[in-house]
């Protein structure tokens, strides 16, 4: 299974450029898509999920033209939108049955088997007969996951799936995703960099509709080895001066004080200590570089 996205551009009627000539190829296995809010992640996901047409560009899924042959894509697609609601007064079980029929699972015994398994997996078995509208946020999210996995989809698109899940459920869901096997494509969008580190052999960072980086998390980490420096600063003024002098990629609050992380080939001196780079550094470095390039000097 391979998904090839070529030169995708999209401008919304209100003038927002959501995608700018974006090209990406995604193979089998888990693929992580990270980026800040409004980066164009959801636009990209919606386009692949046949819900939206780009202004230009093409998407190819193993020889299927995704933009033209939408119905063929929908047959092998499992999609969890970023935000979704549910019909009132319908139970989880009834709704899953309905979606199973829609996804072409015609044998009723297979339908029952797969729905039961999904309800168990998503820990909704006990509440399966309750109305979806009474579900809490986490329960609703788990229902969304269950419906996306119905019918063994070969292309799974999950848009910020771990939002609203507690840590235990999040772990369980990530396990479920990773167990789905390597013979299908799973695209996972998130702004939690940790999700990607745990799950994805490959990832991409997008911001303002552009692709900033594509590769394996391990490789990108290796490239930063020994180039990330950290220092704790006491005052805002000190932080401001640092920002002008060195390439600050992020700050974290540690016990009320700013821990500054800086990207530099050699030690920036005065009190900086080398630290292990993590995936968040990769993310912030790419974002800050994009901002720098756009700033007219």
């Amino acid at each position: 299974m391979a998904l090839t996205i070529t030169g995708l551009s999209k401008t919304y009627p209100n003038g927002v450029k959501a995608l700018k000539n974006l090209s990406l190829s995604i193979g089998n296995g888990m693929f992580g898509l990270v980026g800040p809010n409004g980066a164009g992640k959801s636009s990209l996901m919606r386009t692949v999920a046949t819900l939206q047409d780009p202004d230009s560009g093409s998407i190819d899924l193993d020889g299927i033209d995704v933009l033209r042959k939408k119905d063929e894509v929908r047959r092998i697609l499992g999609y969890l939108p970023q935000e979704f609601g549910v019909y009132p007064k319908i139970s989880a079980l009834d709704m899953l049955r309905h979606i199973a029929v829609m996804k072409g699972i015609t044998s009723s015994s297979e339908r029952k088997e797969t729905i039961d398994a999904l309800l168990q997996q998503t820990n909704l078995w006990d509440v399966r007969k309750k109305a979806l509208s009474t579900f809490s946020g986490g329960m609703k999210q788990r229902f969304g996951i269950a419906q996306a996995l119905l019918g063994n989809p070969r292309l799974i698109i999950v848009d910020e799936p771990t939002a609203g899940l507690d840590p235990a459920e999040r772990n369980r869901f990530l396990n479920l995703l990773s167990s789905l096997g390597s013979d299908r494509t799973v695209i996972l969008s998130t702004h939690i960099v940790d999700d990607v580190r745990q799950l994805c052999p490959r990832m991409a960072i997008i911001a303002q509709g552009e692709l900033l980086l594509e590769g394996a998390p391990a490789d990108t980490l290796a490239a930063l080895k020994g180039k990330i420096w950290s220092k704790v600063v006491a005052t805002d003024d000190e932080l401001r001066t640092l920002e002008t002098e060195v390439h600050v990629i992020s700050t974290h609050l540690v016990g009320g004080q700013h821990e500054v992380r800086v990207y530099a080939d050699a030690s920036p001196g005065n009190g900086f200590a080398p630290v292990d780079s993590d995936l968040e550094d990769v993310y912030f470095l790419n974002l800050s570089q994009q901002v720098k390039q756009q700033r007219p000097n």
């Binding site: 819900l51 929908r74 019909y87 007064k89 015609t106 044998s107 019918g151 167990s179």
Partner: protein, 625 residues
């Protein structure tokens, strides 16, 4: 007081930014305009030919009528003033501020009151403009006097708005459920209509208490002006004088104003100004949910290792398409049957059916057997409006359901054709209508039995309800689905549909009687127990075929314009629809063939045009002699 002013002006600004306020204003303007400009439109124009259309009496009468039919408008404005905070969850922000009960409730109430008074002031303007219509019958339009407009407006409409509005305000503030508010409005309207039927059926000569306790005023006005001559109707005002017909008007106004004040006092004392009390029920629900989660945590810990999901086979065959269609239809049908509003309408349909069925055997005050054709007329007549309401309401609900509930992201990505999706919506509404028609038939049979008449003609019921009436309702469903597909907002769609629905009889009244141009209308026909539908059969058959053919075209166009995916602007959908357009060619040809059948045109010609050959008949006959 400053805070009151703040709430009051906020409410006004909010209302006057909303399109609906102006729509209501225009509605009353159009209504009163037509009452004057078209002599065959309003009740005054239709009745005694010498009462001036802009006389104080006419204005008083029309204002009472507007207050009756405007109950739902009053409910829409007053009912949502407090409710809004609870629908949009702004109450949590609001009630953590230091606001006083008086300024909050008072400001909202006063703002709604002024808005409603503005909306209904369209009545005065419409009448005034109507008097200048060049085509109007100027023999029936007197000189304009400001007081002849203002006095009825102040003593009828403003008072009605005050106490009916306050009643809605109380109920909505205390229950905080929009459903209850609308139910209250519909119930008030229906009970009044039924009550007035019953009251007039008793032919009572009681003209004092009946007038005082009349909340809407039709009985009241009848009591006051019952013995007025035309001259009096054109000159006298219905005043608050205690000597005018024993002061029945004065006491009525005082009684209902008092009730209005009472409801305001009760809302002021009973409304709790704390988030905790206001959301007591949801608090309970939250507690229940927390308990549930506790139980879930206490449950045995599941393995974090995910088991493999069973493999399934996916089959996409015509059989699957049919299964999808059934599943979708079932889902949509269930959502209607589980809607409380639906059952409220069914109860009203039942009440009206029983009421009308009871009078089915009474023709011009004489009791006859409630034979089937009389009974079917009675129960169908009472049910028809509800059938159209259900059609318009649920066509819209089902068409917008995915978007309203934000389920569209999942729904639209499912592997199904747009036509299956659309057909399932049509099927669901149509099935509901079929069931309701069966209800109407059942009421008819029960009422016949109650009257001691046992010769039930089931085939006559079936013919009239399912062959003649059902296609009309079906046409309206098609139209509603089409309109809701094209518009970008559900409520705009409702507005257009109501407009079309109201416009048809008006156009007919203006002499535009050709049913080929009146949406969904069929020629008038008479059923007789002697020769059935007689010579009306071909006209009915062709006109029903004609409208169903147009409906089918609308249906196909609606499917082509279906909303699917994130981009649902009309422009984006037109692009897609144009791509599909060539596939419509065969249907267009069939349609053209049907429409060109001259035979239909002759049969459906309006009654006045048919007079010509009728007149020519004798001349031709005599020339042959």
């Amino acid at each position: 007081m400053a805070l009151f002013w703040e709430f009051f002006t906020f409410e006004l600004t909010y209302r006057f930014k909303s399109l609906s306020t102006y729509m209501y204003f225009l509605l009353w303007l159009a209504f009163s305009f037509l009452c004057v400009a078209s002599e065959s439109f309003g009740p005054i124009g239709n009745s005694n030919g010498k009462v001036l259309l802009n006389s104080p009496y006419a204005n008083t009468f029309n204002d009472f009528g507007a207050a009756l039919f405007g109950i739902i408008v009053i409910a829409a404005i007053f009912g949502t003033a407090i409710l809004r905070d609870f629908q949009r969850d702004t109450y949590q922000i609001l009630f953590t501020q230091p606001i006083s009960k008086f300024s909050y409730l008072g400001g909202r109430w006063a703002g709604s009151f002024v808005t409603t008074v503005f909306a209904f002031s369209g009545m005065m303007l419409g009448t005034f403009i109507g008097t200048f219509a060049p085509w109007a019958d100027h023999a029936r339009i007197g000189p304009n006097h400001l007081w002849a407009y203002l006095q009825p407006f102040l003593s009828v409409l403003v008072v009605q708005i005050f106490f009916i509005g306050s009643a809605f305000f109380v109920v909505s503030a205390l229950t905080r459920k929009i459903f209850v508010v609308y139910l209250q409005g519909v119930a008030l309207f229906m009970f009044y209509v039924i009550g007035i039927t019953v009251f007039f059926a008793t032919r009572s000569l009681e003209h004092f208490w009946s007038g005082i306790f009349d909340p809407v005023g039709l009985v009241l006005l009848n009591d006051v002006t019952r013995y007025w001559t035309v001259i009096e109707k054109n000159r006298l005002f219905v005043t608050w004088s205690p000597t005018l017909v024993n002061g029945v008007f004065l006491y009525n106004r005082l009684f209902w104003l008092g009730l209005g004040v009472l409801s305001l006092v009760s809302v002021w004392t009973l409304f709790p100004m704390s988030v905790e009390a206001l959301t007591a029920r949801s608090q309970g629900r939250r507690a229940a949910r927390a308990k549930e989660q506790e139980l879930a945590e206490a449950a045995p810990v599941r393995s974090v290792v995910a088991a493999h999901l069973p493999r399934v086979r996916q089959v996409f065959s015509p059989g699957t398409t049919f299964a999808q269609y059934l599943s979708l239809s079932r889902l949509r049908l269930r959502s209607i049957f589980r809607d409380v509003v639906f059952w409220a309408i069914v109860v009203l349909l039942l009440a009206f059916g029983i009421n009308n069925g009871y009078f089915a055997g009474r023709i011009a005050g004489i009791d006859v057997w409630p034979v089937t054709y009389l009974m079917v007329q009675a129960v169908e007549g009472s049910a028809l409006l509800f059938l159209f309401i259900i059609a318009g309401l649920y066509a819209a609900e089902l068409l917008w359901r995915e978007r309203d509930t934000h389920f569209d992201g999942i729904h639209d990505a499912l592997p199904m054709g747009e036509s299956i999706d659309w057909l399932s919506r049509l099927t669901a509404v149509a099935v509901v209508e079929v069931v309701l028609l069966a209800f109407a038939m059942l009421i008819g049979i029960v009422m016949q039995t109650a009257a001691g008449y046992h010769h039930y003609e089931i085939t006559q019921y079936l013919k009239e309800l399912y062959v003649v009436t059902f296609p009309q309702v079906l046409t309206f469903i098609f139209l509603a689905l089409f309109v809701q597909t094209v518009v970008s907002n559900k409520f705009a769609g409702y507005g257009i549909l109501i407009g079309i629905f109201v416009l048809m009889p008006i156009l007919y009244g203006f002499g535009w009687e050709n049913t080929l141009y009146l949406v969904g209308q069929i020629p008038t026909y008479t059923y007789s127990d002697m020769n059935g539908y007689g010579h009306f059969v071909p006209a009915l058959f062709w006109s029903i075929t004609y409208w169903l053919a147009i409906s089918a075209v609308l249906g196909v166009v609606s499917i082509a314009f279906s909303r699917r995916g994130a981009e649902d602007s009309l422009r984006a959908r037109s692009r897609l629809a144009l791509r599909l357009a060539p596939r419509l060619a065969p249907i267009a040809i069939v349609f053209a063939v049907i429409a060109r059948r001259r035979r239909i045109l002759v049969l459906l010609q309006h009654p006045r045009a048919q007079r010509v050959p009728q007149l020519q008949g004798p001349t031709r006959y005599s020339s042959r002699l």
